[in-house]
Symmetry: D2
Subunit: 295 residues, 4 copies
């Protein structure tokens, strides 16, 4: 039996980096988890344990910290691109780099009193959602950038229906014209080019996702998903593809009749498992090929 080595990569996962910028007495904060993964001439290390082509994951971690100092961290996409390019450019045996970053958001603790100056170096975690990016760069010089967010948890108390579906021998669900629709948005969007205004793009995509979720009278979560993706593509020419994964966090109306009470859409049980899971991609018709962008 002949055996061959298939696709492989290695790297350092979840390097936790907090970067402070001291602008006089006013400090700024970036809080990241950085995962790097490299591919290239890796036959020897797999077959014989010869590490001559291996850049240790410890060195990858050091590089994250060193570049955070030497070039700073602004938008995570730009920092990921810089890391990926550094790795591919620095060693001939490294032919491809993949960098994934999560960013946790902070805001300034409010002033002690109205009229007091802004806090200069005190912060509080803001929001549950996490901003993400996934960057690939290879020896041919091609870079791809996917931006995203996860755990943006949203809920409509009305404006959601679900009926007209297939009924078979295992159907017990009743159609409804008014239900709670709740999900924790996992969205990722592919940029046409690695040169983009990532800060502005992120802010606007996020706004559009929220707007489409809230503004769509929904006959199914798929319809909402598509509306969210379409809204992003319609308004953001720098983006050519959106992928969404929307868990349907079921909120079941509690039957209060046994207690002599009605329940006109007021008391719900929020279930954990199982949950619906709706996944889909929306693209512009002329989206370039994705290559390894989503790997």
């Amino acid at each position: 039996m002949a055996v061959v080595l298939g696709p492989n990569r290695y790297g350092k996962a979840e390097t936790r980096l907090v970067r402070v910028v001291r602008d006089g007495g006013v400090h700024h904060l970036k809080d990241l988890s950085v995962s790097t993964a490299l591919s290239g001439d890796m036959e020897a290390v797999h077959l014989t344990g010869d590490n001559a082509a291996v850049l240790p994951t410890d060195t990858q971690k050091n590089t994250v910290y060193a570049l955070a100092r030497s070039r700073g961290v602004d938008q995570i996409e730009d920092f990921a691109l810089a890391l990926a390019r550094h790795f591919v450019d620095s060693q001939p045996t490294i032919r491809h780099a993949r960098v994934e970053i999560e960013e946790y958001s902070w805001e300034r603790i409010p002033p002690a009193a109205p009229g007091a100056g802004e806090r200069r170096h005190s912060f509080v975690r803001a929001g549950t959602e996490v901003r993400t990016c996934l960057v690939h760069h290879d020896e041919s010089g091609r870079s791809t950038v996917v931006s995203g967010l996860r755990d943006l948890t949203v809920l409509n108390t009305t404006g959601s229906e679900f009926h007209g579906f297939i009924r078979d021998a295992y159907t017990t669900l009743e159609p409804t014209t008014d239900r709670v629709l709740a999900t924790a948005v996992r969205a990722r969007w592919r940029h046409v080019s690695p040169d983009s205004d990532f800060a502005g793009s992120y802010r606007e995509v996020r706004r559009r996702l929220l707007e489409a979720f809230a503004g769509t009278h929904s006959l199914s979560l798929q319809q909402t998903l598509y509306a969210m993706g379409r809204s992003v593509l319609a308004g953001r020419p720098e983006i050519c593809e959106v992928r969404l994964a929307l868990p349907n966090r079921h909120h079941f109306l509690v039957d209060l009749e046994p207690f002599g009470l009605d329940n006109p859409g007021e008391v719900y049980f929020a279930a954990d498992r199982p949950y619906g899971l709706i996944e889909g991609a929306v693209l512009t018709e002329d989206a370039p090929g994705a290559g390894s962008a989503w790997d």
Copy 2:
């Protein structure tokens, strides 16, 4: 050998309740996890399995939903008190009730455009912190209320020192006059009376905790803890005791010297474990006895 039954309780944990109020077309949302626990005449059930004195945990769950409908949910402390009193008053075998509630915060999704009206039924999860309460009520009619919060994550990039500590044979830590101080605040505060303006109290306690964390030039996390507790007691006469648990989430300055780089308080490694853990209580001198308030 003679064996006796010691302290015991039983209940339904983490009943997930979402309560919607429909004020015309404008909806309001409460998102809770409710845990009830009852004590009383429980010898028989333990010794022989005789359930005659047992109110099933399933019934406790039903009661949470029914009271959410019939009386509504406003402040979690008031809802917990209503539940606890209901249980103790409804059955002679139930002599004590303990109700613990967590509340997850939501805010309205912003309007589609400046000038557009407020969203009426669309929400997004706000913040990582969770509001909590713990209520006890017993057959003598005594009620105690502890309010609180957890996962209020805060960080000062400067204004924190640590030196002058004991040095022994196992000491390697260097003193510092400038470090990052970060923690996820777990705070609980005991009310003098079960009749309180819990909404206003919560808002002000939270503000004071943040203010004291940000406003204290810290020589140790204990000093910050005490300042936080003292500030709450100083400004809120309805509260007689504050308990705080502050994990010291270490941010280690990365040594960049091997790479020819300095690191003047800019690049940190955020460590997971181990972490410092500072716990303490601060009381008013005339605080009444706590009884079972903290159990």
Copy 3:
């Protein structure tokens, strides 16, 4: 308003220690998470930030590692006692030490072939349960030891009933004479003395807990809890108190009638939340006072 400092402690939580013993070519493994917490003369540090009485949590961590080397780690209770006594004995300002340890179990990877010798240095994690201990030692020389385990997950597919309970206006639960009973055992037991054969004691207590769970025809989870505690006390004179927390992991029989199928105790939905939670203590009649043993 006069404010006073209440109970407090500080320490290093979750120091992850893996201790290898190299007995010639045969290696042995201990995998621990150690949490230390000290109390004593802590007024100054809280009120003014004066750290003169503070043994830094970093030093506590170092001490864990140094003692692991110098005295070795055998039973976690003995190691915790050694740590607690070291802290209290080493510094006059430390008046009380609390040490909590979790131990993760490993077993040897089986031999490559029947008849091949035992693996000498290769291990695989065994079981989901975690062995625990909680030790207190104070300046008066008193030590207390509580041993325990958590996440010992067990399930009886029959031999469990639940009926004869209170019925009120919020009752919908039907009585049953045959249900699944499942729980993740959290058990802790207090030793009469800090000098004990902790290895043998642990093995036998665990065996008795399993035996009582499996061997009790249960009319309520409280009855099972009591039987578990009583069995431990009946057979282990070194133990004077057992505390148990048993989540009732509900397994609901799925209604298959809509699909023309019966369901004679064969197909269950395992629910996450809410869950019942049964907590109780069982003591010998002559158990000495617990002091701070459970804090």
Copy 4:
């Protein structure tokens, strides 16, 4: 701008099924989490919310329970295939089904005494690892089966080296000829055919993974990964591809020199993050195309 719908699927995730077989008084137990996902004629539901082609996720859940009753659950791969085929065969609008199952392992609670009969209906969770499978079936009749496991946590205390790697400006890691090698194995393996003895195959693959991990003197984790994959392929002709993801759970030797102690491979700090992550595939040279098997 023209927008198109890309790949999509929808289903019910993490349906928790416990299946009991009552063989006279002797009971058997299967504990599963089942996730189903369907694809097909889904344009309308995305674009207009027309659900005519949608089999609700609630119905998918019901089907899991109904088939668990009517056909029973033996090997998870066979159950997943039955589900996938049912969905594709039952509705013309469903063109592809993906079923993922996790199985949690249980063993019988040991007899009360040596010589006592085997427990008939009492179980305890065994091991931390989870058995998995991923099955695809489409309207052309093609089925693919990937079996696997996760969280098989293993550790070698010696027999692992790491040296000869690239050194660059960011390298600080020292080469070593003796280190701890620990990982939580995530392995998945693709079957040549959907007709296989999945029980025997799983048992042997697991044995080979452990054997290769323990039996390989490792110069790098990649070498160990490849040896594990190769061993599976060498011994199991029913398998054509193995994919492994091995987090390198770093165990750092603690520097005890400041305390006057040596540390000859005895005291380690087990780190959480960051961690190395080594991922790779090993295939037989004549492995058929994977199609959507890994999606």
